[in-house]
Symmetry: C2
Subunit: 335 residues, 2 copies
DNA sequence: GTGAAAGCGCTAACAG
DNA sequence: CTGTTAGCGCTTTCAC
């Protein structure tokens, strides 16, 4: 019923394999027959059947994307959307499609991952989050399935990954604050099971120590990645002391901290967020935040994976994406 | 190299066709052999090859999603993300994957649409936007390809679609304002080539006329769907008169209008947005806006398409999704 | 109920 | 350079 390679072959007076070669742009086909075949193709309005090609080729030119999602909101977290944007651009430009699934827990994620792998729909997989002793990574590795992960895994051997230098990013931020004269700087981070939190905390500690300031454990809080977490942590710190600046590991936390400060009518404490989410510019005061370039994380992840799939590995199996502090009102010089 | 249906057949001591029937859960297979085959399957850790199935079946259980995108920002417009969320949930729950492409113009969109169609990757397509004399719709129709569109097409015969009742939504909003005592109500809409704009304008006009108020053409403006557009339109209206309320057809427009009012230090004009985007709650004053339930638009679109693909059409080929005015400060009673 | 065999549309040796 | 042939892994008549 549909036009196939055979119809084209017949019309062009060649064999199906020749047509196949023309499709694959095989160099050892004479220009004359190529012309011929092309003519037949669009005379018949022929379009290769990608499914059949994939079955024969064992390659679909589709990438799988696994997104974590808290309950019903897959696309609420700006970070993942940005990563997805980067991935999509790079993939589409290079002739790949994206197939995604979302999962609400590590086990579900693994479940979907397996489905995606076994179905053969995708040539490789992009993981957008990374957990301690990540089961997905382990599984993919064991099965030698091509994948790339956004976030630096504990063990990096033979793994493709992209990440920011979280240690360095936080180190720089704290250092700048110290340069500006801040001495008492608080830290509010997310749960310490996450690598990011630990790396950022290390950066904070190093900067403090390097400048000869005494680390004050009571100015260091770790809470959930939520506005409430940030709010409570801030309150807690204020009950103990009055620092001149607070660094956080996430904008959401920073939003909560700002809220606590507003309530207490305190306006001489600088606050710095992380991830530079869209709402940062809409806080009161507008929130200074570290831009982690999530879109770039995505596009470089896609790039690594695609290069690998096409056997064009250039020896590079990871990228460190630059970060940048975006200064807004919340870190302006206080009176 | 990989476990196939033949290996399973051999181990279970049956023929490949029997295994195939077990996979498809064919009712005329004895329970005994079913058990047997299942056992063999997980002894070998067998997983059906979806590509091969698709080639034989002519169905992939993948849906194509076409997203419009202004330049580099596919996922910046909250509307499309919400639609995508709804689509994804419904699809994933029903065993479908989503493959998406984005395009920056109608022609590019058509281009990608064709690729998607001819490749056979997807069983059907979801269009998330609709233009006047939409080429994509026309093409899909001509080729009898299964699709659904978010937005009501000019001609609806034989087309699956979902939309809000834009006329009614705006009618209700304006009516409520009138009930509250407003008499001079301005309208700022997007370009009138778009169906939504026209429908919402009609709702506005009807409400005004029904209440016996004289329509004042000078209070009606149509601009681009941008903050600047809203800003200029508002300034323009203010130069002419001082209405007590302004309705708009998009939050972005409303943001601009609010900005103009802030500049003029006017705080006795109610403003209503449309689409209830996340930033609405972060305006000054916070913006009242009509929630159009974009996620529901998406899930019902997926639902229509999937039912159709599975030949479970229930005679329903469109859905009208409810809207709801979310009231915030910008429409509070003014002194 | 189950098996044999043909075929879905394309690719890839292997010849020539 | 091009044709022949045998699959890729699964489904599906058509027999038995």
């Amino acid at each position: 019923m549909h036009v196939t390679i055979k119809d084209v072959a017949k019309l062009a007076g060649v064999s199906p394999s020749t047509v196949s070669r023309v499709i694959a742009d095989n160099p050892k086909i004479s220009d004359a027959t190529k012309k011929n075949v092309y003519k037949a193709m669009d005379e018949l309005n022929y379009h290769p059947n990608a499914i059949a090609r994939s079955l024969a080729n064992k390659s679909t030119k589709i990438l799988g994307l696994i997104l974590p999602s808290t309950e019903e909101d897959i696309f609420k977290n700006p970070f993942f959307i940005q990563v997805m944007t980067g991935v999509s651009h790079y993939a589409q430009k290079n002739g790949y499609y994206i197939l995604y699934t979302y999962a609400t827990s590590e086990d579900e994620e693994l479940e979907h991952l397996k489905k995606l792998m076994f179905s053969r729909w995708v040539d490789g997989i992009i993981l957008t989050t990374i957990r301690k002793d990540d089961k997905c990574i382990q599984y993919l590795k064991e099965n030698q399935y091509p994948f790339v992960v956004v976030g630096k895994p504990e063990s990096t051997d033979g793994i493709l990954w992209v990440d920011n230098d979280n240690f360095h990013a936080m180190y720089t931020v704290v250092n700048q604050l110290i340069q500006k004269g801040h001495r008492k700087i608080g830290f509010i981070g997310g749960p310490h099971v996450l690598n990011v939190t630990m790396n950022r905390l290390d950066g904070y500690l190093r900067a403090i120590e390097n400048s000869g300031i005494q680390v004050d454990e009571k100015l260091i809080m770790r809470k959930e990645f939520t506005e409430e977490g940030g709010y409570e942590a801030m309150k807690h710190i204020l009950a103990y002391d009055h620092p001149s600046a607070i660094v956080t590991t996430d904008d959401l936390i920073a939003f909560g901290a700002l809220k606590a400060l507003r309530e207490e009518e305190i306006d001489d404490i600088s606050v710095i967020g992380f991830n530079n989410t869209p709402l940062a510019a809409y806080q009161h005061p507008t929130l200074s935040s570290v831009d982690i370039n999530a879109e770039k994380l995505g596009s470089f992840a896609a790039r690594l994976l695609i290069k690998h799939l096409e056997k064009k590995d250039d020896g590079i199996n990871s990228y460190i994406i630059d970060t940048k502090l975006v200064e807004r009102e919340s870190s302006e010089k206080k009176k």
